[in-house]
Symmetry: C2
């Protein structure tokens, strides 16, 4: 019997809860994961990189790319990469927040496209969440469809890439529930925007995460600096 070669899937894996679940979904679909992580000068670069590596180990990923793109720090314009700007901690507001990094997913997807083309992968997983999200314009279904068209037009004829976004229409509650059901090691993930030993519990990312756990009636296994409010 011939050994069947698994199809490759490029998974953009930040080390957060969403991209970790997405990588587990890709693995469950039978793909061989090519994990791609970006060090973009974000405050929590070291924390996220550690989460990425721990999750790759847990997933038994054979091939991983750790891509350095230090230029976001030069471009600035986001509280995630510019430490002179404060991370908002007073609650999620309407509109595009100051933590928005200009066209981050556009850049991540373009680089992942080059990797997919080189690796001969036909699918590319990304954990964007449109509903119940931080209001970033590069997380919508419409954007993903448009960039997928551009990617296929701008690469070799034989490169036919599909972007798979299993979470795009899920709420954080759904994401927590699904992660628990699939035994995703949520304790290895890092979501907080602040670079502290424990998660701050009050930035937009912590708030969304904690809200998800609360609504899913589950306990977040990571440690928080600020005591969680009683349910």
């Amino acid at each position: 019997m011939a050994i069947s070669q698994k199809e490759k899937a490029v998974c953009i894996l930040s080390g957060g809860m969403d991209s970790t679940l997405v990588s587990y979904l890709a693995k469950n679909d039978g793909y061989e994961i090519v994990a791609v992580h970006f060090n973009y000068g974000q405050r929590t670069q070291q924390k996220e990189l550690k989460s990425f590596r721990d999750i790759c180990k847990a997933l038994k990923v054979k091939e991983k790319y750790e891509i350095d793109i230090p230029f976001f720090k030069d471009i600035g314009a986001s509280a995630l990469t510019d430490e002179t700007l404060d991370i908002p901690i007073t609650g999620i507001e309407k509109g595009v927040p100051i933590t928005y990094v200009p066209f981050r997913n556009g850049i991540f997807l373009s680089i992942a496209t080059a990797i997919a083309e080189k690796e001969g992968a036909k699918v590319l997983f990304i954990g964007v969440v449109e509903e119940d999200s931080s209001g970033y314009p590069d997380c919508s279904d419409t954007f993903i469809n448009m960039i997928q068209k551009a990617m296929n037009q701008g690469t070799k004829k034989e490169t036919k890439l599909e972007i798979i976004t299993p979470l795009v229409h899920l709420t954080k509650k759904d994401i927590v529930k699904k992660s628990i059901k699939l035994k995703v090691p949520l304790k290895l993930t890092w979501s907080c925007y602040a670079n502290e030993k424990k998660a701050c519990g009050v930035c937009d990312s912590c708030r969304l995460r904690l809200k998800g756990f609360k609504l899913a009636k589950a306990k977040d296994p990571i440690k928080y600096k600020i005591k969680k409010k009683k349910k």
Copy 2:
């Protein structure tokens, strides 16, 4: 009288003949140029960077970004970034050549989008050439239109970017003629794929350039290693 502020144009400027002409066209259109250059581990990185800086000086550019994206060297798969692959010197063949760098313009344009959004620029110039080119899939008009749509969808609502490609339907002959007419300092430009003191004269890029000068009945001001054939 109030001092009128010039509108900004982000210009992707490699230091080759095409992007240099494009930057001069942007300048002639009255834009204040924000020049963007990429060091992507290409063989001729130092040569191109020198050309970029010299041209910025000639153009009196006030704002420039030199963006390091070393990951293309890790991805490999192109003779421009992988020195174990030979640069073809036997003439231009049909199809996508081995010098194709996976989705290079997609990545360049995505990063330039982030810069344009930060700088508040409304236009983005790139010197892609569709006809009379090396056969790269990310140089076509169709691709540019598709990625422009994705860029505007994936950025803030107030960010409305137009990609301007003044050369896309020109031949190399036209490009040489136009450059001479506009007194573009072609002697500062570098096109060759090989990393030698003088241009090789036989790689695809040199061939296209020399063909352009020949058809334009003009003399290329840069030095070549191989004696140019008689017309």
